[in-house]
Symmetry: C2
Subunit: 178 residues, 2 copies
Amino acid sequence: MAKRSFPLSEVYGLLEPGPVLLLTTAHRGRANVMTLSWHTMMEFEPPLVGCVVSKADFSFTALRLTRQCVLNIPAAELAPAVVGCGNRSGRDVDKFKAFGLTPLPASMVGAPLIAECHANLECRVIDTRLLNRYDFFVLEVIAAWIDPLPKAPQTLHHRGRGAFMLAGETIKLPSKMR
Amino acid sequence: MAKRSFPLSEVYGLLEPGPVLLLTTAHRGRANVMTLSWHTMMEFEPPLVGCVVSKADFSFTALRLTRQCVLNIPAAELAPAVVGCGNRSGRDVDKFKAFGLTPLPASMVGAPLIAECHANLECRVIDTRLLNRYDFFVLEVIAAWIDPLPKAPQTLHHRGRGAFMLAGETIKLPSKMR
């Protein structure tokens, strides 16, 4: 695997722009993957991420019980797999096989990394106070991996109903903001 | 004002792609604006939005006490104002004047809409259970406004340290996902 360890202190720069994610879990020997756009950074370091995984999603039980997952960031060429994972349920299909995604062992959690995603964030659940009311999990990123190349993968940003904005050019302005 | 009312059921399509926002508040006759990238959709309808406003931000007290704000979506031409609002504090400066932003009265909340932003979401705070630990507010969008033109404003997506990804082209795939 060409992936390198990525500094936890820089994880926010991957998630702040709002890319669609592929969330993986594993429970009772069965890995699964779902498409996720409802996430936000909550702290820089250790990096905390809030996300909504619906009780209707097959991944919900695995995430609640194992308290572990991986957030994988797909780029534009994975758009068909992203839509496929969002339209099918792990109850009915092995989405890794169905959409050509390769599970790789993670270092700290039981859920797999997706080889085809350029970044992979291993997470554990640290707060479930908003779970009953909003299906909202607070995750801590405990290990992060990145493909050194390409330098600027074109992330996907869901607009709803199958429409995705593709990441465009990056501009740089003088700023003191982290 | 050319802004039109925007259906609450479609708000998720504006926020899911992860645009940087300008959050406005008003407290004791004083309006303020801050830059915000840490937000996520939490429910489709009524649209619920979770966001982190740090206790260190001048806006925190106004948001906590008034329980009202507006989430304004800026496009690329406002990048200098977005960075300016993120680098200065309302304690020291009237950021509307300093960065050429025009406050307009909202319909349901005391905080102003920003005229130069193509979309404006009037919000009230509905949950503060994660406030002490994570500075996390749950907002309900109670009114939404949009400029009919341009059709696809180029939103800004913060990558950290003054770098912003500009929204690129939108692709459409067959999908049953909302």
